[in-house]
């Protein structure tokens, strides 16, 4: 059997290793506003392995009012921001302690 016979157009799509996309959802109209959601996805595929990872998260919402006014509301992940801030604080403090201990050592000598 010739394996090239299995060359579907789909194979090109699957061979992409890392792909980041912003996708638009269906608009919802309510109270004179038109809401259009946007999501951002990250697709990771490991070569040689039939599998992968998809990370999909909400990005923002485009609000269009009846009077023509338009604005974008970002969807902020508050929990993730606080987590990163705390881990950043730990890392900063760790570096500070390290610098302090190096300085103390050199002073003793």
């Amino acid at each position: 059997m010739n394996p090239n016979r299995l060359n579907h157009p789909r194979k090109n799509k699957m061979s992409t290793l890392i792909r980041s996309e912003t996708r638009t959802g269906q608009s919802i109209s309510t109270h004179g506003f038109k809401l259009t959601p946007f999501s951002r996805s990250l697709t990771l595929r490991i070569p040689g392995i039939n599998g992968g990872l998809i990370w999909n998260r909400p990005a923002s919402v485009l609000v269009q009012a009846e009077d023509g006014q338009e604005y974008v509301l970002p969807v902020i992940d508050f929990t993730r921001q606080v987590q990163w801030a705390l881990y950043g604080l730990a890392l900063g403090a760790g570096l500070l302690f390290l610098l302090f201990s190096i300085k103390n050592k050199s002073n003793r000598r």
Partner: protein
Amino acid sequence: MSNEKPIETAQEAIEVSPEYASMEIIQNTLDDFISVADVNSAYGPPIKEGDTLIIPTAEVLSVMGFGVGSGSGSGPSENGEGKQDYGEGGGGGGGGSVLSRPVAVIIASPDGVRVEPIVDVTKIALAALTTAGFMAGMLFKMRRPR
């Protein structure tokens, strides 16, 4: 140059080779898995509560993996008479996980549209405890006489 027609369906693949049929099934499952990246998985269906419309949003992390193998062999027949027995087999397996976490809710009311974040106190408390533990450990290490 080959005049062979490309394989279009799983049935055609099974007729040609069971191994490639398994791959075909895996490819189809992977295609379904990739469709998780759709915007509808990050935004839930709108909920109407009186005058207010609420749209829940969530972060989705999906991980999946598959493996497949096959083999064949031949050996002397149990019946003897110098005959050869031939056998083949194959198998596959896979696993995956989908994690979802609420991020925020979009609230649309006659007053306007706003985004309210969802705060996961447990996650924040765990991060704070990790940070505090790390800092306490560093401080203890610094003060310890050598």
